[in-house]
Symmetry: C2
Subunit: 340 residues, 2 copies
């Protein structure tokens, strides 16, 4: 009995100490570095200072949790967009996969160009051609069927340079930022020119952003009964372009309130950042500047994909934070590979 008593007392003391120590370490660690993949410097500090200011109850910049809305662009802000937008790669792969059912594509542009790998003819088809490819490959099936097609593609398609699946090519520092904001009661949204339905397939698992917080470009759908079972058929019609001035429109439509923090990387994000900046109270506007040709890519004013020109000028003029990928980020991609 005495032995057991001692064990209990000592066991209890030990347990309490361990719990206390772990708790203390946990808190201390979180306090020390909520963004371990960011190099120390003014940009990292600006993020942390902003979060501390808006979460400090009683402070002049305090924002109540429900109003802590944060919006993030996806392509080039959360994952790689070079040498081509991932969703475009998907669409081109779909043309190839569907070609056997469409013999007429062998002699019809822009499909012929895709099948023959004729970059010049594809370029000649222009934006109209691309829209046709996207509309054709993203329609004619139910929303559930589309989800499955995207999910299957994402498990196998590999990036040509990094030889990893696309959901591995997300930016580790941004994953940490998303998690840090949520730990501080922010609601994190994706507001992207990319397809809403496309992103929703992986956003929850990859970014921790649930479908109802993913806003993107979208096509029309139609409610139909198929064998007494209701489905939503995807129609070959782009309905909303969530890019440039469409981003504040999308934010108002889907969220109904203004973000207090917004992050982008291109001119397509300029209006989202303007809209965020124009609100009252503390604000954070950030751009990811791709400056790291070695570990990722270096591009801005002259790039066809993710051009950063006017937004860069405005950011510099207005003191928005321009993250320098090469200098600000300790690592680019998550170390762990999902691929075999």
């Amino acid at each position: 009995m005495r032995h057991r008593h001692l064990l209990t007392r000592r066991g209890l003391l030990f347990a309490l100490t361990a719990v206390g120590l772990l708790g203390w370490l946990g808190i201390a660690k979180a306090d020390d570095d909520p963004l371990p993949s960011w190099n120390n410097g003014s940009h990292k500090q600006a993020i942390i200072d902003f979060v501390k200011r808006v979460t400090f109850e009683g402070g002049p910049d305090y924002v109540a949790p429900p109003a802590r809305i944060a919006t993030f662009d996806n392509d080039g802000t959360l994952w790689v967009e070079q040498p081509a937008y991932t969703q475009l790669v998907f669409a081109l792969d779909r043309v190839k996969a569907l070609a056997p059912q469409h013999p007429e594509w062998k002699t019809t542009q822009p499909f012929q160009a895709v099948l023959e790998g004729d970059a010049k003819a594809l370029e000649a088809a222009g934006e109209k051609g691309l829209v046709e490819i996207v509309e054709t490959t993203h329609a004619g099936m139910t929303t559930d069927q589309f989800d499955k097609i995207v999910a299957d593609w994402l498990t196998t398609a590999q990036h040509p340079r990094f030889k990893r699946i696309y959901t591995d090519l997300v930016y580790q520092p941004m994953l940490e930022l998303l998690a840090y904001l949520r730990a501080n009661d922010f609601k994190t949204f994706i507001v992207s020119g990319g397809g809403q339905e496309f992103m929703r397939v992986f956003a929850d698992k990859t970014y921790g952003v649930p479908p109802e917080q993913v806003i993107g470009s979208s096509g029309a759908t139609k409610y139909q009964m198929v064998d007494e079972n209701p489905v939503l058929m995807k129609l070959p019609k782009v309905e909303f372009i969530d890019d440039g001035p469409g981003k504040p429109v999308g934010i108002q439509k889907f969220i109904g309130r203004r973000p207090i923090l917004a992050f982008g990387n291109s001119d397509g994000d300029q209006q989202m950042l303007q809209w965020t900046a124009a609100g009252e109270g503390a604000r954070f506007m950030g751009l990811v500047h791709h400056t790291d040709a070695e570990r990722e890519y270096a591009y801005d004013r002259d790039s066809e994909v993710g051009r950063l020109d006017k937004a860069l000028d405005e950011a510099v003029a207005k003191g928005w934070i321009v993250v320098d990928m090469k200098n600000d980020w300790k690592t680019i991609f998550p170390a762990e590979k999902t691929t075999p």
Copy 2:
């Protein structure tokens, strides 16, 4: 010292007992009746049983919290829609308020009909006329300006029969249901034919549903710079009708996953309930049947406003819950008046 010791021990014991007792009472009370304004009976029991089934971890019907999506119609489901939709009353009031700036309305239909109170001419203008009234009164200002106009109107406009402001004429039993679901980690959405921007003005305060969880019909907006300040201008163009087959479309667009519980009251909710029912796992489909002419209104198959005909047949055939307002609800409206 001995005294103090006793006090401490006894105090501690008392405190623990009190806390335990309060906790036990609290739990017991919540268990006893999470829906105090609902009369006991099979409908109330069906709601409670459903919530218990989907929240019982390890049970066959368990649903993880993020997938606990619940969607509610607004007009006639959460607040009064008779004798006319509140937003229509608002639009007609706006025509009167704006008339001095539009002398041409004195001789232009459908505005002339509104100004002269000519119900026959207004009816003759039909749906086209109503759309014109809504588009005219809901556009030509920024989203912020519109919010303020609606907010001001809601504090003064009174229901013709009940002589209370409209946000007082919400259904107390449904407020309890919303709160009960949220207490069980459901995410509650409004999915209504009513205007999204209109409802968002009061939905958070009145229903506890934040703007980003309010889905409704909406008009186009345009991002513009006014004196170097970005605004979203409301355009006179209806863009999305969130009614009938538009409800599943809106649910997919805004939420991106299927509800496991949906509540409506009219044929405009039929497709939302079908869409909800067609998902896998435990489901709850509910209709509010207005059967109480004395305390509220009694209407269904023959009503122009909130007609309940086909959806009622389907509900009966498929065993969806049809709430009988007269018999199921102990009280209709919250007791406390917001009005002076």
